[in-house]
Symmetry: none
């Protein structure tokens, strides 16, 4: 893997355009041993043509055996080492609900939980209360006043909520109050270093007040906090890669991760045509467009092999419209595998195809896991794909004289 500084140091200017098409969770597994995966079962003449004309492989989103969440999965595709560049839970939660974090905000992931009369946690998820109920409780918690600090409490899903503290003197370094198990009380609010003591004191005040206000709302009669963090201050994608970049995505999480690295983003309505029209609208003014398709992952999470196959086939049918934009480099891949057989994200490497006029063909003529295993990219790292895309786009000069 080449690091971001190395890449930034060898950028060349070019008028080329790169398309990154992410089919979320596209990697899969067979239902029956020896059978095809979802991608292999799908009829994909257009993807197959790109695979045949381009170069293929598999990418390892984080590392062998590691199942990535959406954050690390996309951070890798954007060219950042997902182990070095970690996003705090609170920040991810904010991205997921489309909350626009300011640089000095502290964001935490909150759980409503159940504690007994002695204050011991009996259910870390408060029986997975409904999102509607959580919204009511969030409204209640918004009534807590912290002098000098603006507080935001946003429902996420079921028992999960987002807590954001906004104030000039807040710093990172407050430990989780979630002990990660039941049968013990929530952890005290503790500063990990002296400089976070004042911030920890404010968080403690908020937690104590929340406890009082939730007392009679069993099962959701207490809160747990995790991953209190600022949005990270990373090298930004447009500067590192020299690209005017934009995310075209229907879910706030994916626009959020893209904005975190400095990409533009556009909100898109729920239909496929709206996604494609949005892509067409941003095309002229950008050098790099990241298009995110969620339905492959959703079908995988639902354990619906056939629906995942259909989504892949449907996207394949739209490829001529996409290729009509005349991109110079096309990357098609997923941020991780979501095999319907497992009903969840998995650690299996993800098929990838890179199409460009400078691709060295590898004899692979189908876009599928077993075909890509014979591909010219081998089993690469997710963060190798951006330098490859730049190279094929004529946007990198020599390294060393």
């Amino acid at each position: 893997m080449a690091d971001l500084e190395l890449i930034q140091g060898i950028l060349a200017s070019a008028e080329t355009k790169i398309l990154l098409l992410v089919l979320d969770g596209v990697g899969g597994l067979p239902v029956e041993p020896g059978g095809p995966t979802e991608l292999e079962a799908a009829k994909t003449p257009n993807l197959d043509r790109l695979a045949a004309e381009g170069v293929t492989g598999l990418h390892q989103p984080v590392a062998p055996g590691i199942t990535p969440g959406s954050g690390p999965g996309h951070i890798g595709l954007f060219g950042y080492d997902p182990i070095r560049y970690q996003i705090g839970r609170g920040v991810l939660e904010a991205l997921g609900v489309g909350f626009e974090l300011e640089p000095e905000d502290l964001a935490a992931r909150g759980n409503f939980c159940t504690v007994d009369a002695a204050g011991v946690i009996t259910d870390r998820r408060a029986g997975r209360i409904s999102t509607e109920k959580a919204a009511e409780l969030c409204a209640e918690l918004r009534g807590i006043d912290l002098p000098g600090v603006e507080v935001f409490v946003e429902p996420v899903r079921e028992h999960r909520f987002l807590l954001v503290l906004r104030g000039p003197e807040l710093v990172e370094g407050v430990a989780d109050t979630d002990p990660g198990r039941e049968g013990v009380p929530p952890l005290d609010v503790v500063a990990e270093g002296a400089e976070a003591r004042d911030t920890a004191g404010r968080v403690e005040t908020w937690v104590n007040e929340a406890r009082k206000r939730l007392k009679d709302h069993e099962p959701a009669n207490m809160v747990l906090l995790r991953g209190l963090a600022r949005r990270p201050d990373w090298p930004l994608f447009p500067a590192v890669f020299g690209l005017r970049a934009v995310a075209v995505a229907q879910y706030p999480m994916y626009r959020g991760v893209a904005r975190l690295v400095g990409m533009d983003s556009v909100e898109v309505g729920p239909g496929r045509d709206e996604l494609l029209s949005a892509l067409e609208n941003v095309w002229d003014d950008h050098d790099f467009v990241f298009v995110h398709v969620k339905d492959t992952d959703k079908a995988g999470e639902d354990g619906d092999f056939d629906r995942k196959v259909k989504v892949i086939e449907e996207i394949d049918g739209h490829l001529p419209r996409i290729m009509a934009l005349d991109p110079d480099v096309v990357l098609v891949t997923g941020d991780h595998s979501t095999p319907a057989a497992l009903r969840s994200h998995s650690w299996h490497p993800v098929p990838v195809l890179l199409w460009s006029k400078t691709a060295r063909r590898d004899g692979v003529e189908r876009f599928g896991e077993s075909h890509c295993l014979r591909g010219g990219l081998g089993i690469c790292r997710s963060d190798d794909l951006m330098p490859l895309a730049l190279a094929h786009a004529g946007r990198l000069t020599k390294y060393g004289a």
Copy 2:
């Protein structure tokens, strides 16, 4: 590669069991160009079935071109980066003879050597004196009294011995006295930093006394010391990977390396049936069992291609008995290659198969070097195998939300 902290941070609990079967030095080379390797020549229907149902590849024990000793070879398989986690020579020597090091012991590898009248080394190995002779000399050296320090001197093999100093004030940081060549005197005992001066003084006293006592024992009339070190204080395997782990091995070295990372170990008699019975005995009470087979390596070191083939076939014949234990994940590999053609360990990547219900099959139907080269694991690092085994055992959760 994911680091140990990352892995420990995403452990999930599960009731699954992992078997690591190490065929020491299993990787090989053909005798005639174009011929089969030892593993390819062996008839291995059971290993082939596991390869067909699982996923295969080759692992690089340390790094391309690097021939590992037994220590780094196993440390990698146990999931530790063998370059970051290095075992001192003295500690390895102790493991090899089954000497139980206490945390504050200092252990050194010793050589008996020959010096001339001027004190210049004429043979660093004292003509490779017999192990019996060395045992006599070790007994003589045990008579040396170091105030406040308990001293152990154990014969290893031929001219090699183990020196262990046990005392509360001993520290690391004493340089080797072995200059690594002949024609010069042994190096003075030197402290690498001020804090090791007192320890160096004690070692110097011991070396001077050893010189006096060996004076008339030519060719073994002097000693050389290397790698004076404590047993390392590493993150322990059971905590890092969340596994009740045990080593089933017939040689002290392999039990020793396993104990170094906190595994249990059981002593096993010399026969194959004793090895398998020991495996069966520990199975119920452990989540991870490391079984070590030495004979593949021995045959390779002896340059005996046919015997190595026979050992592999014999082990293959026992696989149904092993699989009857109903493991969830099976890893079969070696700690390095020991091609009979080279009569020594080598740097060649080592075939590996990972069998589990969640394996994404790769079309490989034989367990052999050339077949594994087309496998779905690609050419991976040795320390990638533990995270993969954990993932397939359902023992890792998502990384990042």
